[in-house]
């Protein structure tokens, strides 16, 4: 395998110094991934779960996943990974959840609102949730983030700042009352969500 044509070598992320092994190719989760769907995982606060005793602001994250026609994706796997209310990843809070979209393309997580996460130097990232989407028709996951409208730190967040201003809104959940935050995820076309290469 010649790697000489790798165009990222100049950026120091491989190319000139390819490692001895290469990451295994991704393949689609397909339409039958629900064999590993455990609906309780969408409730990070479940009473018998790892976070039952952890205090914080209880929130619901909800929305829909739609395709290029605006039609619901009824077979997507939505996964979240987030910090605890103090913005830490190394505490007792288990910030992972998985939710299958329903026939209307809807997902719904119950969790605690994450705190601001440390960034380079003394800076902070705005509170956010990392989101991965897997589905039939996705040969590899789509990675994005969910931010919260009205957070002062949104203005200086390093990831939001990398997104053109007219598309930032696709990453910002809006409050719907009772602790619910909505973020609809359009995979393609009008209002297409911003997806990240990480």
């Amino acid at each position: 395998m010649s790697l000489a044509s790798d165009d990222r070598s100049a950026e120091g992320r491989g190319g000139l110094n390819r490692p001895p092994l290469q990451a295994t190719a991704s393949q689609t989760a397909g339409p039958y991934w629900h064999l590993i769907d455990f609906p309780e995982w969408a409730d990070l606060l479940r009473s018998n779960g790892p976070n039952a005793a952890i205090a914080g602001e209880r929130i619901t994250l909800l929305g829909t996943v739609t395709d290029g026609d605006g039609a619901p994706c009824p077979d997507a796997m939505v996964e979240i990974w987030q910090a605890d209310p103090e913005g830490r990843y190394d505490g007792d809070f288990h910030g992972f959840g998985r939710c299958a979209t329903d026939q209307a393309g809807r997902f719904r997580f119950l969790t605690l609102k994450p705190g601001a996460v440390r960034a380079e130097g003394n800076a902070f990232q705005a509170p956010h949730v990392v989101v991965s989407l897997f589905a039939r028709g996705l040969l590899k996951q789509l990675v994005t983030r969910l931010y919260f409208a009205g957070e002062p730190l949104n203005e200086q967040d390093p990831v939001l700042s990398a997104v053109p201003p007219d598309r930032r809104g696709t990453l910002i959940a809006r409050p719907e009352g009772d602790g619910a935050w909505r973020l609809d995820m359009r995979l393609q076309g009008e209002g297409e969500m911003v997806f990240l290469e990480i």
């Binding site: 039958y32 076309g189 297409e192 997806f195």
Partner: protein
């Protein structure tokens, strides 16, 4: 610390014209490249106390699945060849007749009441995993005329960083459907495709019990530390 991007030719694209379901589901805007932060380099601590393990999909107390019993073993490594210990590996698959235990699978092949087709294993300190199941069957899908998926087992892996998250499929050696499958062939690099095919392994094979297959998985590695030619 951050994770290196995989070589592009080793990964499938989002838009793959031969795989119809990608048409309406791939983003048309380019991805936005970001520098990894703690949110991408950290990962949930998946562990057996939170996520119960299932090492045997073929047999349990009072039940046994129909089909050819197989044992699959392999190592989970990063691109520098370092083992990834404690990685959670989820597997799911069709039964021996090529039918999933899934309400939306309408393929007219028999269901096996003794086969759920789902398991969960954690790698040991050297990155090894191992489980026993039955060899799944091929099944038709409607991507194109007379389309059949080659025999495969789906894999889902959690590494030490969320950037290492991987879902893939393991195929079987000598399957005549492989050259015809748009999902397998969407990986541009033939060597990378070939690495998705398990190898028959007599060492893994259990006498009088199950044929053995070896399937290693490589997760994204860490970026090399300081630049070698500081300008």
């Amino acid at each position: 610390m951050s994770y290196r991007l995989p070589a592009p030719e080793t990964q499938p694209p989002y838009d793959a014209p031969d795989y119809g379901s990608t048409h309406k589901r791939h983003p048309k805007q380019p991805l936005i490249r970001i520098a990894q932060t703690l949110s991408e380099t950290s990962a949930p601590r998946m562990r057996p106390s939170l996520y119960e393990t299932t090492h045997n999909l073929a047999k349990g107390p009072g039940w046994e699945a129909q089909g050819e019993r197989i044992t699959v073993a392999g190592r989970v490594l990063d691109e520098d060849g370092r083992p990834v210990p404690g990685a959670m590996v989820e597997v799911w698959q069709a039964n021996a007749a090529g039918r999933y235990n899934h309400e939306r699978d309408q393929h007219d092949a028999p269901l096996d009441p003794n086969f759920k087709g789902e398991g969960r294993i954690f790698t040991d300190a050297e990155g090894w995993y191992r489980y026993t199941t039955i060899r799944p069957g091929a099944y038709p899908w409607r991507n194109h005329h007379n389309a059949w998926r080659p025999v495969h087992i789906h894999y889902s892996l959690f590494g030490a960083g969320f950037a290492q998250r991987l879902i893939t499929q393991m195929y079987f050696p000598g399957d005549p459907l492989l050259p015809l499958d748009p999902i397998f062939n969407c990986v541009p690099d033939p060597a990378a495709r070939q690495r998705l095919v398990a190898a028959f392994d007599l060492e893994v094979t259990e006498p009088e019990y199950a044929l053995g297959y070896r399937f290693d998985i490589v997760l994204r590695g860490r970026d090399a530390t300081p630049m070698e030619n500081p300008a």
